[in-house]
């Protein structure tokens, strides 16, 4: 049976590639990050054509917060394929981000400050956790 | 009720019924008129007369060479738009779908690009013919409301159809409703104006051809 999920996406993929090129130029010239949303585009469900075009890069970041997100660099440095899912695995957002480092990967200053406050008590917390397990 | 639901429902039913009743009224009214008494003996047999009728339907499509310089432009333009209409109606996939729904018949449609080109040629030739009608002093003098209304009610379906197929201007739902409503307006007017030639031209040529054959005149 033909895999009808692999559909003629070429036209839309060409347009996306041009948009990504434009975003990359802005990143290089002005240091401005940008992104383009994939989830609501009428691409074929498998998005294979775009995947083949962009390829795989060197880094993949796994984010485990409210749900599981993967932020994967493509074969084009600075072009990241980001997929956000809730913790049942349902995809809630999918976008191409063009940035040196995607915004969500960077630690937030307030979160860093809170962690800094928690740090001195870390050894005691670990000791307590080991005693509970034992 | 939305406009589209009205166009596809009650308006379609009313328009079709009016058109059918009107066409049968006109045809019955003509064919049941008393025939003129023929006192001379026929020159050809019945078969010959029938052949004459059939031949005239075809032969009148091409004007006699004597008239060609005068009528060439209007014949070419009219043929273009009639052929264009036929291609659109019989080759366009949505129209075949409608015919299939009503009669069960179906056949392969033509590529969309070809239909779009036909629509463009049809619209262009209709516009040129209208300009001619308005600017030519004799044609203008002879033209009545029937002429202009019939032109408009054929032009609108083709125009709304090409806009709908193009899917660039206007919402699909609104354009579809307008297209269907414009066709229904044409259907309602058809039996009562010169658009009735669509049915009468063949009957008229046939009758004339049989008559000429009876008299031994060329058809």
């Amino acid at each position: 049976m033909t895999d009808f999920t692999y559909l003629p996406d070429e036209g839309l993929v060409d347009a996306l590639i041009m948009e990504i090129a434009d975003l990359l130029r802005r990143l290089i010239e002005h240091g401005e990050a940008g992104s383009t949303v994939l989830l609501r585009l009428p691409l074929s469900p498998s998005r294979l054509t775009l995947d083949h075009c962009l390829g795989q890069g060197e880094i993949a970041v796994l984010l485990d917060a409210a749900g599981r997100s993967t932020i994967r660099e493509t074969s084009f440095p600075g072009v990241w394929w980001t997929t956000h899912a809730d913790d049942t695995g349902r995809v809630i957002a999918m976008l191409i981000e063009v940035a040196f480092v995607p915004h969500i990967v960077r630690a937030d200053i307030d979160d860093v400050a809170r962690g800094c406050q928690r740090l001195p008590g870390a050894t005691n917390a670990a000791r307590r956790a080991r005693r509970t397990v034992a | 009720m939305t406009l589209l639901a009205f166009a596809r429902g009650p308006a379609l039913q009313a328009a079709l019924l009016i058109m059918i009743a009107g066409i049968f009224w006109r045809l019955a009214g003509i064919f049941l008129l008393p025939p003129r008494a023929q006192h001379a003996a026929p020159r050809h047999s019945l078969a010959g007369r029938i052949g004459g009728g059939a031949l005239m339907i075809v032969s009148r499509f091409i004007p006699h060479h004597t008239f060609w310089p005068r009528v060439a432009m209007s014949v070419v333009l009219s043929t273009t738009f009639h052929l264009g209409l036929a291609i659109i109606l019989l080759g366009g996939a949505p129209h075949i779908l409608l015919i299939h729904q009503v009669t069960g018949l179906t056949w392969p449609g033509l590529p969309k690009g070809l239909i779009v080109i036909s629509s463009g040629l049809t619209l262009a030739s209709m516009i040129v013919l209208l300009i001619r009608r308005i600017t030519h002093p004799v044609l203008r003098m002879l033209s009545t409301v029937d002429d202009y209304l019939s032109w408009l009610l054929v032009f609108l379906p083709v125009l709304t159809g090409i806009l709908l197929a193009g899917e660039t201007i206007g919402g699909y739902g609104t354009l579809l409703a307008l297209h269907i409503l414009s066709v229904e307006l044409m259907m309602v007017w058809l039996p009562f104006g010169k658009l009735m030639h669509g049915a009468l031209v063949f009957a008229g040529r046939w009758g004339m051809g049989m008559n000429f054959a009876r008299k031994g005149a060329a058809t």
Partner: protein
């Protein structure tokens, strides 16, 4: 923690209480900006606004409905941050979900309205019957018409959830025996958001709520008061089978060779071209699929009067023709009229001949 105490809690504090950090909120904001078709650059702004937002009261009234709209919203919730937005709103009255019943329920409604006057969002599902004084749908002896008029007066905005509340839906289908109408036909002077669909896509409601909580206003609406972000395009414009439509490749019957190739379902009655909704992009059941992807044409369930728009399997190019019997009657009427006209003409001709006397050929 008492519900009333948490009314002043910010979303950020609530998330921190549940162990979620700022990255979680940013994940959620990215998902919401995508869902609302806002530029992705708005996500950090939305996240910051959401962090500061306080709880909002929602009163939900169910009228002439099948409960499908509520079920679809309930089924969409899972232990995810998306469902937290429903936890973050204070659903102060909802008859199917609340524990209170009878007088206690009515008291709850009165207190919720009084405590949040002018600030609560009023969500309605189901149509409102108006015939015969609205007797066809009563709650606690009160008609829906009366309840809507009273509760809408002090609402900040009204959300008409589902096609029944938006346009009248199934109860309004011909012959509409109860006189069912949508919210917009009865409420004036209040911002109304229609979220049609039978049922509506659940993400639409969460998107509208998030937009309202983050930016303090309702999202941009189209001429039918539907959020443009979700109803601005047709299913046809977002459908992944569109290349087949453009190439003229149509399935002719269910499960034929074309259908198995995933060809366009236009000829099988798909109403995608005239239906505005987000099903083709957001999809259903957590993005699993939507009707066309599962092989069935769109029913057009988010459009007004979709039940009365002809058959679901009649293509848009077709309609409801009169039928051969009626056509035959019309033809017979035409023939009769034509015959009468011809007879009259014959009569006039005969009378004229009689007046003129015998013709020269006939005189001996």
């Amino acid at each position: 923690m008492d519900d009333r105490e948490t009314m002043t809690e910010t979303l950020c504090a609530m998330l921190a209480r549940r162990g979620f950090g700022r990255r979680s909120l940013l994940q959620f904001a990215i998902a919401m900006t995508s869902s609302l078709a806002l530029p992705p650059s708005v996500a950090p702004v939305m996240a910051a606004n959401l962090a500061k937002a306080k709880r909002r009261s929602v009163i939900w009234l169910s009228f002439q409905e099948c409960t499908g709209c509520l079920e679809t919203l309930l089924r969409s919730s899972s232990p995810t941050i998306d469902s937290l937005i429903f936890d973050f709103i204070s659903l102060d009255y909802q008859e199917a979900l609340m524990a209170a019943a009878g007088d206690a329920a009515e008291r709850t409604l009165r207190e919720a309205v009084a405590a949040n006057k002018g600030q609560y969002l009023l969500a309605i599902d189901g149509s409102i019957p108006i015939k015969d004084g609205g007797v066809y749908s009563l709650t606690g002896g009160r008609s829906n018409v009366e309840m809507l008029a009273e509760i809408a007066t002090n609402a900040r905005a009204v959300l008409a959830i589902g096609t029944c509340a938006a346009y009248g839906g199934i109860p309004k289908a011909y012959p509409n025996p109860t006189g069912a109408v949508g919210v917009d036909d009865l409420v004036s002077g209040k911002p109304i958001v229609n979220i049609p669909g039978c049922p509506p896509v659940p993400e639409v409601l969460s998107g509208v709520l998030v937009h309202f909580i983050s930016f303090g206003r309702l999202p941009d609406l189209d001429d039918r008061k539907r959020p443009l972000a979700y109803f601005g395009t047709t299913i046809h414009d977002q459908c992944y089978r569109r290349p087949f439509y453009d190439q003229g490749k149509f399935a002719k019957s269910f499960d034929d060779a074309g259908a198995r190739q995933g060809w366009c379902l236009f000829e099988l009655g798909c109403k995608g071209p005239t239906t505005h909704n987000a099903c083709a992009s957001l999809k259903w059941n957590g993005g699993a699929s939507f009707p066309i992807e599962s092989g069935h044409g769109c029913l057009g369930c988010s459009e007004p009067d979709f039940w009365d728009a002809g058959g679901f399997y009649t293509p848009l190019a077709g309609g409801s023709p009169p039928g051969w019997r009626n056509a035959g009657i019309a033809a017979a009427v035409g023939v009769a009229a034509g015959a009468a006209a011809a007879l009259a003409a014959r009569g006039r001709a005969a009378s004229a001949r009689h007046k003129a006397g015998p013709s020269p050929e006939e005189t001996p």
